[in-house]
C-alpha cells in the first residue's frame, strides 16, 4: 500500500508542477502590472506585494484601449452574426436539400480549410487595396464572414436531425426557409454556441491581417493596439503589463464562464480556437 500512495503523491506533484508552469506567466504579468515603476524587477515574487492599480488607469489613458475594445467587439459581432446566418443557410442546403453536384460543392467548400491564410495574405492585401478597404470595418469583417469549418460543424448537426421532424414541418406547411429557422436551427443551438465562442476567440486573438490592413489608430483592434502600445511603452514594463492584462482578460473570463462548451467542443472536433 505504501508504494501506491508514494506514486500518487508523485503524480500529484507533477500535476501541480505543470499547473505552475502554465500559470506562472500570468502571475508574473499581473504582479508586474501592479508594481511601482521604480521597483520593476524587485522583489521577484510571482504574487503581488504591491497593488498600484493606478498603472491600469495610466495605461488605459495612454492608449485608446476603449476604442480598441469597441473595434474588436464590432468586428467580432459582425463576424459571428454573419457566420451563423451564412453557415446555417449553406449547412441546410448541404444537409437537407438534394441537388446535383452537392457532394462536389461540399468538398470544394471543405477544401478552403487547407489553405493556410499566410500563404494568401499577399493577394488578400491586394484585394483590400483594390476595394479601397484599408482601415475600414469591412476589411476586418467581410473576408471572415464565411468559414468552411462552421458550415461543416452545422452540417454534421443538421444531418443528425430525425427525418420525422422535417416531415412534420412540411405537413404543417413550412417551406424550407421556415423549416430552417423554426425547426432545424433551434435544435442546433449548442453547436451554434460553440461555433460563436471559437469565432470570438479567433477574432480577439487575430493579429497579422488587422496589422496589415487596419493599423490606423482609430481602426486598431485589441492585439494590434497592444502591439502599438508596446512600441511606445517598451521600457515601462509596469504599464505594458497592465495593457497586456487588459488585452487578455476578456477571452480568459469567457473561457472560464463557458468552459464546458470550449472543452467539449475541442474534445468532439479536435480543433484549435
Amino acid at each position: 500500500m505504501k508504494k501506491i500512495s508514494f506514486a500518487r503523491i508523485f503524480n500529484f506533484a507533477v500535476i501541480l508542477l505543470f499547473a505552475f508552469i502554465m500559470l506562472a506567466p500570468y502571475m508574473w504579468m499581473i504582479t508586474t502590472s501592479l508594481k511601482p515603476r521604480n521597483m520593476m524587477g524587485e522583489p521577484p515574487y510571482l504574487i503581488p506585494t504591491s497593488f498600484r492599480f493606478e498603472n491600469y488607469k495610466i495605461a488605459w489613458e495612454a492608449a485608446p484601449f476603449l476604442r480598441y475594445y469597441i473595434n474588436t467587439l464590432i468586428v467580432a459581432l459582425g463576424v459571428i452574426a454573419s457566420r451563423i446566418i451564412f453557415a446555417s443557410l449553406a449547412a441546410y442546403s448541404f444537409a437537407i436539400m438534394k441537388f446535383k453536384g452537392r457532394d462536389f460543392l461540399f468538398l470544394l467548400f471543405l477544401g478552403t480549410m487547407m489553405i493556410p491564410f499566410q500563404s494568401i495574405i499577399i493577394p488578400s492585401y491586394q484585394i483590400a487595396r483594390d476595394f479601397n478597404w484599408f482601415n475600414t470595418f469591412q476589411v476586418l469583417i467581410v473576408p471572415r464572414m464565411v468559414d468552411a469549418f462552421s458550415i461543416f460543424l452545422l452540417r454534421q448537426n443538421f444531418v443528425s436531425i430525425p427525418k420525422d421532424y422535417l416531415d412534420a414541418a412540411k405537413m404543417d406547411g413550412c417551406n424550407d426557409w421556415q423549416t430552417l429557422w423554426r425547426i432545424v436551427f433551434p435544435l442546433a443551438q449548442p453547436t451554434v454556441l460553440t461555433m460563436s465562442l471559437f469565432t470570438f476567440l479567433f477574432i480577439w486573438n487575430d493579429f497579422l491581417w488587422p496589422l496589415l490592413v487596419a493599423n490606423a489608430e482609430k481602426m486598431r483592434v485589441i492585439q494590434v493596439g497592444l502591439q502599438a502600445f508596446s512600441g511606445r511603452y517598451q521600457v515601462e514594463w509596469t504599464y505594458m503589463m497592465a495593457g497586456t492584462v487588459m488585452a487578455t482578460i476578456l477571452p480568459i473570463l469567457i473561457f472560464f464562464i463557458a468552459q464546458k462548451q470550449f472543452i467539449s467542443g475541442i474534445m468532439k472536433s479536435g480543433i484549435k480556437g
Binding site: N11, V14, I15, A19, I21, M22, W28, G41, P44, L46, I85, A90, F94, M97, F99, L105, F109, T112, M113, M114, I115, P116, Q118, S119, I120, I122, P123, S124, Y125, R129, V142, P143, M145, V146, A148, I151, F152, W204, N205, F207, L208, L212, Q223, L226, Q227, S230, W237, M240, T244, T248, P251, F255, F262, I263, I266, M267, K268, S269, G270, K272
Partner: protein, 293 residues
C-alpha cells in the same frame, strides 16, 4: 417558374458563402500562383512577367534555406515536446481515483490555448528581459549573470520554442484525455493481474491505443507550427541574424517590409504546397480535422 425556383433554391442558400469564399479564398489562392510569376514591388501598378525566375532566385537564396531549416527545427521540437508532455499530463489526470479537482486542472492546462498570442508574447519578452526578466533575476540570485536571451543567436529560437510548446501543450493534452477516456479500465486491470508495472502498461497498452490521436495531433501540430508567425513577429522579428526567421516571417519581411510582393508570393506558393502536402497526409490517414472520424 416555381419549378425553376425549386431547382436553383439549394444554390441560392449557398450563394452568400460561395461569393465570400470565391473572393477571399479561391481567388487569392489562384492569384498567389499568378503573382509569383511577376516581379512586383511597392504595390506599384507595374508588374513585369518573369516566369519562374523568382523561384530560381528563391532556391538559390541562402535566406530561404535558412528559414526552411529554422521552421523545421521549430516544428519538430514544438510538436514532439508538446505531444509528449500533453500525453503525460493526460495519463496523470486520467487516473480518476487519485486526482482531486480534475476539471480544475484541465481548465488550467487549457488556459494558454485561449490566451492571445500577441499578449502572451509580451509577457515572454518581459520574462526573458535581460534586466528585469524573472529568468535573469533568478540567475542573479545564484550569482550568474544571464544573457539577453531573445537577442542571442544561440538562445532566441529556444525561447520562441518554449512559447510554442507552452501554448500547444494544453490542446494536445485535452485531445489525449478525450482518447484515454474511451479506453476500457478492464485492459489495465488484466495487465495488473499479469504483473505489469506502470511503465509497461504505458508502453504496451496506452501508447498503441492512442496512436490514432497521436497521428492526428502530430499532423495538426506540424501544420500549426509550420505556419507560426505572430509570436516571432513580436518577440524577435526573425532576428538575431535570421536565427528565428521562420518561413512565414521570411515571407512577411520580403513582401511587407522590403515591398517585394512578387518574391513574397513565390515564398507563399512554396509554403502553400508544403502545407497542402501535410494536409493531404492528414485527410488520407486521419479523416479531416476531427478526432471522431
Amino acid at each position: 417558374m416555381s419549378r425553376f425556383y425549386r431547382s436553383i433554391k439549394p444554390f441560392l442558400y449557398l450563394l452568400p458563402s460561395l461569393i465570400i469564399l470565391g473572393i477571399f479564398a479561391y481567388y487569392p489562392t489562384l492569384s498567389v500562383f499568378r503573382l509569383s510569376l511577376y516581379k512586383w514591388e511597392f504595390l506599384s501598378p507595374k508588374m513585369e512577367f518573369v516566369g519562374f525566375d523568382q523561384f530560381v532566385r528563391l532556391f538559390g537564396d541562402d535566406r530561404f534555406w535558412n528559414s526552411l531549416w529554422v521552421t523545421t527545427k521549430y516544428t519538430l521540437v514544438v510538436t514532439a515536446v508538446s505531444l509528449l508532455l500533453g500525453l503525460v499530463l493526460a495519463v496523470l489526470l486520467n487516473q480518476k481515483k487519485s486526482v482531486p479537482g480534475r476539471s480544475f486542472w484541465r481548465s488550467v492546462y487549457f488556459l494558454p490555448s485561449v490566451t492571445p498570442t500577441v499578449a502572451i508574447a509580451m509577457v515572454w519578452m518581459l520574462i526573458f528581459n535581460p534586466g528585469f526578466g524573472i529568468v535573469n533575476i533568478a540567475l542573479r540570485k545564484l550569482g550568474i549573470e544571464g544573457l539577453n536571451w531573445l537577442a542571442d543567436t544561440k538562445w532566441a529560437l529556444f525561447c520562441v520554442m518554449l512559447l510554442g510548446i507552452w501554448r500547444r501543450m494544453g490542446f494536445n493534452f485535452l485531445n489525449y484525455l478525450a482518447a484515454l477516456q474511451n479506453v476500457s479500465e478492464a485492459l489495465y486491470e488484466s495487465a495488473d493481474i499479469d504483473g505489469a508495472n506502470g511503465l509497461e502498461k504505458f508502453i504496451y497498452i496506452t501508447l498503441p491505443l492512442v496512436k490514432p490521436t497521436t497521428i492526428m495531433l502530430m499532423i495538426l501540430g506540424v501544420i500549426d507550427s509550420f505556419m507560426v508567425i505572430d509570436q516571432i513577429l513580436i518577440l524577435t522579428g526573425g532576428g538575431p541574424g535570421g536565427a528565428t526567421e521562420v518561413i512565414g516571417q521570411f515571407m512577411y519581411t520580403s513582401a511587407f517590409r522590403l515591398s517585394k510582393l512578387g518574391y513574397g508570393s513565390a515564398i507563399s506558393v512554396v509554403m502553400f504546397l508544403i502545407i497542402m502536402l501535410f494536409t493531404l497526409f492528414q485527410w488520407r490517414f486521419v479523416g479531416f480535422g476531427t478526432a471522431e472520424e
